[in-house]
Amino acid sequence: MGVGYAGHRLAVVGAGVMGTNITALAVGHGVPVVLVDVDEAVLSTAREAVRLKLRHAQLMGALPDGPHGELVTSVSLGDAADATAVIEAVTELPSVKAEVLAKVSATVRPGTLLVSNTSCIPIDELASSVLRPSELAGVHFMNPAYLIKPVEVIRGPRTDHRTMETVAGLLACLGRRGLVVRDGTGFVINRLLHPLINAAAMVVAEGIASAEVVDGLLEGCLGHSTGPLRTADLIGLDNLVDSLNVLYERTGEDSCRPCGLLLEKVRTGDLGRKSGQGFYDYGKVAS
């Protein structure tokens, strides 16, 4: 168990890429997790994904010594009732997140930390759907969450001091370092990153450069560890389009309107690393 928050019991809602990332991070740091999703088949895939991610974390020397936390999967949100903190990691659609957070809020005891792993939706917008808005904060984990230590922490206008202290305690327990920002669409990271990725895709669509060259320039000349289009494939192009729509609808900035190439790739099922094909082919390219 981590320092400063012994006894944490985490519930993670949503067993997709980020839900399994966060679960692997927590279990690998000795924190027991209840992972909730609506579908038993999704949970079965998720258990295997968490197992692989724990091995990946160990391979990279990213886990502390000590026993893993227990992982329980469930299709019932009721199994999150005893959690000390709940992290929502469902699809980046405002209506879906709002509905799930409302249910979570009605399930847990007052005083239970609620966290949204939203990448773009303002926390105060989501806070309107929970019973106790002061107990909701945003924590934007990176992908893969178990390898990248810094996280973007969002304090909404209604998030109280005690909630921020609890977030800090939880992150210390998970070995992450929180950088706190104020609320706003896309916060800091995706307000900057998503329009960049969108522009990078437009450059490819216009035939100015290939994905490899765009990424090669930003990696080699600007020192980005992962270029924008490799990053897009890692995020998932469907999730990226959802996030760009959230940004565009709220800021009205043209740079946030998903470009044709991104929409086309989503239409044809080329969603990035998770589908085996995006801007890169993951059957052939060392990435």
């Binding site: 990946h56 391979l59 390219v285």
Partner: protein
């Protein structure tokens, strides 16, 4: 190291593993790979691809890379991976023989 194992295919030797891995990596990376080249320092292999290498070795050579063996240094070069494969196959062989 040239210990031979009963196998339906060619015997697994360190040299054979190195040769297969060099081909596998060159095909994936689109560049030739040396046996002692640091794959991570050269940027040829990312942290994400490292895990694919683990699974590839396990499936190709019937080994389980677990516990303290699951560390990056065992995958840093083609030579290190070949030594890991031979070490784990030897250990498994000893168990089977015993």
């Amino acid at each position: 190291m040239t210990t031979e194992y009963a196998s339906a295919v060619a015997p697994v030797t360190a040299e054979a593993v190195e040769s297969a891995l060099t081909g596998f990596l060159a095909g994936r990376a689109g560049a030739p790979v040396e046996a002692d080249q640091d794959l991570f320092a050269s940027g040829l292999v990312s942290s994400m691809f490292a895990m694919q290498l683990v699974v590839h070795l396990e499936e190709s050579y019937g080994i389980a890379i677990v516990g303290p063996e699951l560390k990056l240094d065992n995958f840093r070069t083609v030579g290190a991976m070949a030594r890991l494969v031979m070490r784990l196959r030897e250990a498994a062989g000893e168990v089977n023989d015993g």
